[in-house]
């Protein structure tokens, strides 16, 4: 599934001042790419990711998922946008965003609470399979406070994969993890990209993380200043 960002401008009001977070960004990401969006704090990385993910549609320009005839996200109704998020997009956040009162398996199966028509038993089985794929099946009943940071992030990845998304949007996914654990998480993304063809768009400010992607998009003060293909580094070199 292709992603086309066209002339995207996002402004915020800071008191009476208007701040431009994204300035006429135009970008096309083909299905199956592994893209790192890098830049310093405040460069607009997360704002761009939110726009791409349909979490924010209050911008000028357009973001389109799918073929040339696909409607821009901001033209979709709230319900259609929610459905698009559920069908096509998976999110992984820096702070994991797991619900502490649910078990790991229940967290993974959370999308099934909002649609999809899976029965509770089927949803649970699917959650167990996904936890197995990230090496955490044995912790299916554990609650998030009982898990390490790396384990939490792997649960969050499993949750992002629950609805079999076309695109995985990762916002500083290793930002709260130590270097080794972060590398393990990156390996999961690489595997998903390589083996399942899932498009991975990863926002990071860490150079060694960005070095694992096959394409690097650099933002600076809301502007796209660099968009280059690169040879991903192996974990040893990184």
């Amino acid at each position: 599934m292709n992603l086309v960002v066209h002339n995207l401008t996002r402004q915020f009001h800071a008191g009476e001042r208007e701040v431009t977070a994204l300035d006429a960004i135009t970008l096309t990401i083909e299905g199956g790419e592994f893209v790192a969006i890098v830049g310093r704090s405040g460069s607009g990385k997360t704002t761009l990711l939110n726009a791409i993910g349909g979490l924010d549609t209050d911008y000028q320009g357009s973001v389109t998922l799918g073929g040339p005839d696909a409607p821009a996200l901001h033209t979709l109704s709230e319900r259609e946008l929610a459905a698009t998020r559920q069908r096509h997009l998976g999110y992984v956040f820096q702070q994991f965003n797991l619900l502490n009162h649910l078990s790991a398996a229940e967290n993974v199966a959370l999308p099934s609470f909002f649609g999809g028509g899976l029965s509770a038993a089927n949803a649970h089985q699917r959650a167990l399979n996904l936890l197995d794929s990230v090496g955490l099946k044995h912790l299916a009943d554990a609650r998030p406070p009982q898990l390490s940071g790396g384990q939490k992030q792997r649960v969050a990845i499993a949750r992002a994969l629950f609805a079999e998304p076309d695109i995985l949007l990762c916002d500083e996914p290793t930002g709260s993890l130590d270097r080794d654990t972060g590398l393990q998480i990156l390996e999961i993304f690489e595997r998903l990209n390589r083996e399942q063809g899932i498009t991975v768009i990863l926002v990071t400010h860490e150079q060694h993380v960005a070095a694992r992607a096959r394409r690097r998009v650099v933002l600076d003060q809301g502007k796209l200043v660099e968009d280059v293909a690169q040879t991903p580094l192996t974990p040893e070199v990184a």
């Binding site: 939110n50 929610a82 998020r85 559920q86 069908r87 009162h101 999308p111 909002f114 028509g117």
Partner: protein
């Protein structure tokens, strides 16, 4: 994967609501407490109002029909549009019966001459003589089963006869009219006169006891007031037994017609007839006795003349439905110039008073519920604020605004259901306690009810509906706020 909201997804959403409730038990319990108290108050006072209304308006006063009287009884003319008709006679009965709102009309006539009753020795040890105040009603007005074999029937009503249509037992055909057959006092007349007849000592003809019914409240009055007041006094008053309907049905006594303590009839000679209490009915005169209408008319004709026998004292008018009572009242009073009986007017006033008091207490309950709804708004708003990131995550994972609304309203629904159940239980317990105290601390008095409360299934439904209404009202704003949370803002807030 389909995004359509399937029943499976709805049930899964229900599971999410349950988990959320379990996690925030204390918050929800506090929110629900106010609602439960409000529902308990509403339930308690509604049932109390209903109970008092039932006791007073259905036992002390008889409602369910209108009783109208002729205002001319207190003034010079009938008035209204009725013109030439001079009182409550058969023409007026016919005219009222033809009104579209009317189901049935039952004329009532009082005894219009002095009479007294003597008897009761078998129960009290000595015969008592009292003034006999009575009215007559049509036999088909009595709904209650009459178990006495005599029945509430005018046996002495003359019937026509011929060679092919002989008279019943105890009568002989004289011309074309059945007249009581001759008999000899003191002899067994069951074969010649019939099982329920006796031989009248003066007339020496077959005779039948006059059937009498009484209002059940009279037993209440006797047991609750008279017997209590005379307890321990000298004479038979001190040994009065506690009476019941079973003890009294079949009791026979003498009626002295044409003479009483207060006066004597000049028109016809004094005469003694036997009477028998055949049963109790809510339709009977509240403070007196009730006979079949034809008996009263026959006696009034003999002692007071034809005009007295052909004029009724009141009409009991049954409306086709409760909705018809108000228009029927208007037509009876405004078009026909009749007026509601004083008793009915009093019942109306008391009914209004009870309604106002019930309304007042229910208003208090609604105020409590209103405050509870505000409390729910506050608590749910706080919880939405606390769960901002969680709600943002749900929206990121594909939950539309409507699902978030349903989640919050679902939580409010569970709070409402639990609060309603708790409130109904509290209300019932409070009522049970009050009944217990009332029955043990308050002595016997006339019409003392077994319970002060009138429970109806619709009250539980009302409690449930009210709890749902107020909980939903309280949760509406927080639900909208929750639905409006921007996932981007909620998830990127560090």
């Amino acid at each position: 994967m389909s995004s359509s909201t399937s029943s499976s997804s709805r049930s899964r959403l229900g599971a999410l609501v349950t988990q959320s409730l379990r996690r925030n038990r204390a918050h929800f319990a506090l929110s629900g407490l106010g609602v439960a108290v409000g529902i308990a108050t509403l339930f308690f006072f509604t049932a109390l109002g209903e109970g008092v209304r039932t006791q007073i308006l259905e036992r002390v006063f008889v409602i369910g029909q209108l009783e109208v009287v002729d205002p001319a009884a207190e003034g010079p003319s009938l008035g209204g549009l009725f013109g030439s008709v001079g009182g409550l006679d058969d023409r007026l009965v016919q005219r009222v019966a033809e009104l579209e709102e009317v189901e049935a009309v039952f004329p009532k006539q009082k005894l219009t001459f002095p009479a007294s009753a003597r008897g009761g020795g078998s129960l009290l040890g000595r015969d008592l003589t009292i003034e006999f105040i009575a009215d007559g009603i049509p036999q088909d007005l009595v709904d209650e089963p009459i178990t006495d074999p005599l029945g509430f029937v005018d046996h002495a009503n003359p019937a026509s006869c011929s060679a092919s249509s002989p008279c019943p037992a105890g009568f002989q055909c004289a011309g074309e009219v059945c007249e009581p057959a001759a008999c000899t006092p003191g002899e067994d007349v069951s074969a010649s006169c019939g099982a329920q007849a006796y031989c009248h000592a003066q007339r020496r003809t077959c005779a039948w006891p006059i059937p009498v019914i009484a209002h059940p409240n009279l037993i209440e009055l006797f047991n609750g007031s008279l017997r209590t007041a005379l307890k321990g006094s000298q004479g038979i008053g001190g040994q009065l037994p506690r009476l019941s309907e079973t003890m009294l049905v079949g009791l026979e006594f003498d009626l002295v017609l044409g003479q009483s303590f207060l006066g004597r009839n000049e028109r016809a000679a004094r005469q003694t007839e036997r009477a028998r209490l055949v049963g109790f009915s809510e339709r009977a005169m509240p403070m007196g006795a009730t006979l079949p209408l034809s008996v009263v008319q026959r006696l009034n004709r003999r002692y007071s003349g034809d005009e007295s026998a052909d004029t009724y004292h009141s009409l009991l008018v049954e409306a086709r439905s409760n909705d018809q009572v108000a228009p029927l009242t208007r037509r009876l009073t405004e078009e026909l110039g009749l007026q509601l009986s004083a008793r009915h007017q009093q019942a109306e006033r008391i009914g209004l008073l009870i309604s106002l008091i019930t309304l007042l207490f229910n208003l208090i309950a609604l105020i409590i519920l209103g405050i509870s709804a505000l409390n729910i708004t506050h608590t749910f708003s706080m919880m939405v604020l606390e769960r901002r990131a969680e709600i943002g995550l749900m929206r990121a994972l594909g939950a539309p605004r409507r699902t978030i609304h349903l989640l919050v309203l679902g939580e409010a629904t569970v709070v409402a259901l639990l609060s309603a159940a708790t409130g109904l239980m509290l209300g019932w317990l409070a009522a049970y306690g009050l009944d217990l105290a009332f029955n043990s601390l308050v002595g016997d008095f006339p019409f003392k009810p077994d319970s002060l409360f009138g429970w109806q299934p619709w009250m539980a439904a009302l409690g449930l509906a009210t709890a749902l209404l107020f909980c939903w009202l309280g949760a509406l704003l927080p639900a909208r706020r929750a639905g409006a949370i921007s996932p981007a803002a909620a998830l990127t807030a560090r």
